[in-house]
Amino acid sequence: MNYQTLPLNSLAMVIEDNPQLSYIFTQSLSAAGYSVTSIANGQEAINKLESIQPILVILDIQLPGASGCKVLDFIRNSTVLKYTWVIVATSEPNMAVTMHQSADLVLIKPVSYIQLRDLAVRFRKTVK
């Protein structure tokens, strides 16, 4: 399957402070056909989320500025972001237990490049 053929009209946001992982996630989503904005600071993400209005967010929990939990709360309480799909990527398996109530999907780090790409593609198809 050639993922590059997918339309590029879908916005995604990667909120991750680790530059390597942020790059991998960005590459993974780009490969899935998304237009990706990557942000390394929780507060900065909150500031930009409503203007960008991504349909998919990859969210780290341990973030500078504001924690991933705060960011997720912000998204869930925002009316303009009510269709945004949030994948939480955490390195703490116990965190998955607390997050999976409000997150659409919780992935335990390390998140596979291929797995994330395939998930993103599957989600694009669902949205269509």
Binding site: Q20, S91, E92, P93, V97, K109, V111
Partner: protein
């Protein structure tokens, strides 16, 4: 005047006759016979005197005067007889002694009746001039004075005997003795009147009246306290009914009398016949004392009888000896102290046991005063027994415990319950110690609590050891917590770079950075595989830490078996490929469409089982199959064709850091895998089953319940 005197004399006569009648019935009582005779003598004297006065004829008067002397001469002797027998407490009086005493009175009577011939008594006898009714006017010769002297001597002797008797007699006899002594003084008063030359009327003699009074007082004293009537009976009765054995022996050791108890004591031993020798029967008998001033010998403990019938007695010997006279015999008293001695022995034993007990024991009375303490108490507290007896146990209070604590203690024991607890107390030297104490109320009379017994044990050392243990435990817990924290931090810190390694390798493989050669692709596979193995290890480490601290949390979500099993194979794919192992995956259709559980930890179990299978399998295949076990459970199993595990090793492999038959194992492993599998399965409410034989491969089966609600 004379008529009045005669009337008084008549009354005196009547009194004497009455006393004679009364005393006759008591004649067997010691002293009574003497009194009886003295009253007869008195009556004779008074009667004679009355007729002497009223008879007008001189020769008749002389006859009556002579007749009087039957009484006058003998009366002092009868008094003396009374005094002697009364004092000796004996009704018997040896006739020879009586005969000796009566010598002079008999001579006097003879002299009186032969006065006309020899004239030793009355040389001149005349009628009193001027008086019709009057006694004779008489002059006295030497025999009269001899008789009078003898009479007063006898009276003096009688008086002295009574004084001595009064002094020696027990208190109950004192009033009797005093009354009798008072009576005996009257003749002496009459004598004083006579010597003073006081004359009443026609030379009337007041002596009979005085003696009548004497007789009366003595008899009243005698009758009023008729103890001598009772005493012989009482003594005999006491003697016979005494529970102590009493044996009277003479000074030769011959048995004179033994009471019933004494006969009973020796019944099984010997015949206790009268006249038999006591030292032969009772060899323990101490030799009679030689010292005159010792009346009682020191008590001695003796055993009589043998074996089970042996009994223990206290033997007391008392001398029978009148003051100043020879020892006439002994009274031997045997008091049975067998039961007492047994009780004493028992008590001594109990006190000894309590005293040697390792625990401190305190007995307190109902008022809270210490009644008894044992040696261990003294050692524990530093106090001596006499320093605490009578004091309140609160003197041990350390002041470290609240008042309510003590109130609760008292409330418990005053309601009859046992109190048990720990108390910190202060020793005499001020140091603090902790004791474990049990206080039990008890009673010497039913229904009421009379005492409390407290048993104390010094637990200061134990408490310190406990504190040290708790501290050590806390330190260990803290160290463990830090270890867990460290493991969690390490695994987190490793995960991020590992994520980058895996991510970049995947990107390389996927051609993100351009086309790669087959060799490069092989290298990338190696990198990915190593990273995946490292990841399994890191996940096991954090899983182990979380299980150990109980901090693991499980979610209950829909499991996508296809994805889950696919990703579980990822870490072993490359290694299996290199060994040429066949990897098989089977998901049966009998499973429910929506299976739930914690996908992360189920995957971790699968990865561990598959990694293990890969490590111990060189040829053949590894199969993962998932199926429905029964209505309420599902299962997955990993089957390999590897080296297998001996049944005896199958239990041990689940322990952390254990591997079966280590010598055979070439492969490396953390040893954590199976222990985590077991723990995680248990957390999920499932079970691990193992089927294996050496050389036959192994099957690990995880059975999980299906009844959980989906929370996603």
């Amino acid at each position: 005047m004379v008529e009045l005197f005669i009337a008084i004399l008549l009354i005196s006569f009547c009194i004497a006759i009455m006393l004679v009648v009364r005393l006759y019935s008591l004649r067997g009582t010691p002293g009574a016979f003497g009194l009886l005779l003295s009253n007869i003598a008195m009556a004779v004297w008074i009667l004679g005197y009355i007729f002497e006065m009223i008879d007008p004829d001189l020769s008749q008067k002389i006859f009556w005067a002579k007749l009087q002397y039957l009484g006058i001469a003998t009366l002092p002797v009868w008094f003396l007889l009374f005094a002697i027998t009364y004092q000796e407490r004996s009704a018997q009086f040896r006739p020879i002694r009586l005969a000796l005493l009566l010598g002079i009175p008999v001579a006097t009577i003879s002299t009186v009746f032969s006065n006309e011939t020899i004239g030793w008594m009355w040389p001149v006898i005349e009628l009193q001039p001027g008086w019709v009714i009057a006694p004779l006017q008489i002059t006295h010769s030497w025999w009269f004075w001899l008789h009078t002297g003898y009479s007063y001597l006898a009276l003096l002797a009688a008086t002295l005997l009574l004084i001595r008797s009064a002094r020696n007699s027990p208190r109950v006899f004192a009033p009797q003795s005093m009354l009798m002594l008072g009576g005996m003084l009257i003749p002496w008063l009459s004598n004083i009147v006579f010597l003073a030359g006081i004359k009443v009327g026609p030379n009337l003699d007041l002596t009979p009246l005085g003696f009548t009074l004497t007789n009366l007082l003595v008899v009243i004293g005698f009758l009023r306290y008729r103890i001598f009537d009772l005493l012989p009976v009482a003594y005999a009765s006491i003697f016979e009914s005494m529970s102590d054995g009493v044996i009277v022996v003479d000074n030769q050791g011959r048995i004179v009398q033994a009471n019933a108890a004494a006969l009973e004591i020796f019944k099984t031993q010997h015949e206790l016949g009268m006249g038999s020798s006591l030292p032969q029967i009772l060899p323990h008998l101490p030799p009679p004392p030689n010292e005159a001033d010792i009346t009682a010998l020191p008590a001695k403990e003796v055993s009589i009888g043998s074996g089970k019938s042996s009994r223990t007695y206290i033997l007391r010997t008392t001398k029978l000896q009148e003051k100043g006279s020879q020892v006439s015999g002994y009274v031997v008293i045997l008091t049975d102290i067998t039961v007492l001695k047994y009780a004493q022995d028992q008590m001594r034993l109990q006190v000894m046991a309590l005293n040697t007990a390792g625990n401190g024991i305190v007995i307190t009375n109902h008022e809270g005063q210490i009644a008894w303490v044992n040696r261990a108490f003294c050692e524990l507290t530093g106090y001596q027994a006499d320093e605490v007896i009578g004091k309140n146990p609160s003197l041990l209070k350390s002041g470290l415990l609240p008042t309510e604590y003590y109130q609760q203690l008292w409330q418990t024991i005053l309601t009859g319950s046992t109190w048990h607890g720990e108390i910190s107390n202060r020793r005499k030297d001020g140091s603090i110690y902790i004791e474990e104490m049990t206080v039990t109320p008890f009673s010497q009379s039913p229904g009421t609590i009379t005492h409390f017994i407290a048993i104390k044990q010094d637990i200061t050392e134990r408490k310190r050891a406990e504190e040290r243990l708790i501290q050590a435990h806390n330190e260990a817990m803290e160290a463990n917590r830090l270890k867990t924290q460290l493991l969690a931090n390490i695994s987190h810190d490793i995960r991020s770079p590992l994520g980058a390694v895996i991510g970049y390798s995947e990107m390389l493989s996927a051609g993100t950075f351009g086309e790669i050669t087959p060799k490069q692709a092989g290298a990338i596979d190696e990198i990915t595989n190593s990273a995946n193995q490292l990841l399994v290890f890191v996940n096991n480490l954090i899983g182990h830490a979380q299980i150990e601290t109980g901090r693991i949390s499980m979610v209950n979500r829909t499991i996508h078996l296809d994805e889950l099993t696919e990703s579980a194979f990822a870490p072993i794919k490359l290694a299996a490929k290199k060994k040429g192992l066949l990897l098989l995956r089977e998901i049966r259709h009998d499973l429910p469409p929506k299976l739930t559980g914690d996908p992360y930890w189920i995957r971790q179990i699968m990865i561990n089982l598959l990694s293990n299978a890969e490590k111990f399998t060189e040829h053949g295949c590894i199969k993962l199959q998932v199926y429905r076990k029964d209505a309420a459970s599902w299962a997955f199993e990993v089957i390999d064709t590897g080296i297998g595990i001996a049944p005896e090793d199958q239990g041990a492999i689940f322990e952390p850091f254990q591997q079966a038959n280590l010598a055979q194992i070439r492969a490396i492993g953390s040893g954590l895998g199976l222990s985590i599998v077991r723990e995680l399965t248990a957390q999920m409410g499932g079970e691990v089953e193992i089927e294996s034989q050496p050389g036959q491969g192994s099957t690990f089966r995880i059975v999980l319940p299906m009844n959980k609600q989906v929370t996603e």
